[in-house]
Amino acid sequence: MSDDTRLFLGLASVLVIASLVAGVLSWRSEKPLPATLENLNARIKAWWIMVAGISLAFLFGTGGVILLFAFVSFAALREYVTLTNTRHADRWTLLGMFLIIVPAQYYLIWIDWYGLYSIFIPVYCFLAMPALTAMRGDTSRFLERVSEQQWGIMLSVYCISHVPALVTLPIPGNEGRGLLLIAFLIATVQGSDVLQYIFGKLFGRHKVAPSISPSKTWEGLIGGIASASLLGAGLYWLTPFSPLEAGALAALACIMGFFGGLVASAIKRDRGVKDWGHMIEGHGGMLDRADSLVFAAPVFFHIVRYAWT
């Protein structure tokens, strides 16, 4: 059996088990179902759809995965910009963000031009965007508007684009297995989210940052990251790493992922919303699901690039 098949059979069996457990819980619970259980069912259903979507993209190879994440960036950026202060003078900058920066960044990854895709946004776009906004002449809350635009491009496009960029890393002995490295990162980081949720629900007592998120607890954090690191070590066969290295990299990605979720929660709290959007039933918006990947991807990418190529 090839590694791809093993991976997707494994994922499918995890989802089958989750669906069975949730089904039994729902069957035995009093009716109507409590909100937690309703949400759990919606989340599992959405996971089926997300896993199906990701699998489909993987079937189309590198191009499919790049397109998938270009779409993730588009959806995330749309959710982000909706929550920012935009003025009429920002229209051209905003249109440029959606119509030029998103396609250009992913095209540069497609043609594997590392020298440009790693600086295209932080150098050229970060200078061009405020210049364009300034040319329109409206200085009201200028610094605030420019900062919000840049941080949005950073989170939604630059950081997320490092997930498909993993496929371009020339790791000796890993030729043709770049997609599996992406699968490793997604599985451990998203697995860590799920495990933190489960550990938090079961054992959560002490809140990490009560003013930002009531659902993040030390018990959930430690239990989730420890178990996700074990999961990463167990998935070492997807990667060019040894089990120990895979576990350490998974731990690092999950800790970054936790910070990503924390920052996203702080932004949401600042703007007075509970979720980024309503795209994924039970989860909220695209950024609610991708916030941990946003922080994990570029750090994971650069450490692997530094140490393995």
Partner: protein, 217 residues
Amino acid sequence: MSANDASLLQTVSGAMLAGLSRAVTGVRPIWAGSAPYGRQRIYFANHASHGDFILVSTCLPFAERRRTAAVAGADYWNAGPIRRFISGRMLRTVLVERNWVERTADPMQVMLAALDAGQSLIFFPEGTRNMTEEPLLRFRSGLYNLAALRPDVELVPCWIENMSRVLPKGALLPVPLLCRVVFGAPLVLEEGEERKAFLERARAALLALAPRKDGTR
């Protein structure tokens, strides 16, 4: 297919516009007080963008969308062959003349004829696009007159969120932002209710659907 349902071109272009507006705005209806299906209706909404009636009709179920037309200004939509083609052939519109001096057909008669033919209407009681900082302008009398003359038609308030940021006046390309349309509970004209009191109540009912500054409803 009855004469009141949309033509094939209108059905196809309506479906395409609905797909496009979903792709750009991810629009989602929130049914807060009325069901997606019901009696013949007048959907009355806040108005700040040409995209407004596309957004409302995108949120409607297919069968309801087919019998729903938007009330729009004839002076704007009859100016030039392209606008005339869009409003007359591609979209479902009921065009009314807003200019009191030069008009040839009474707007009330045009709208009543559409209602009597079984159509639901999307109606902007402010009469024009709101370009001010105010969330909602004063309502013109049209809504009251329609309610008084056709009491069986449900008046459903719909609050359109964010569309004015997606496609403001004079803009050609839409900026992708999330939009929502909140459909409130239907309004009924009370026995003997004064025009002014009713319009004020309708305006308050629509404003009540707008999200508060802190994002809660």
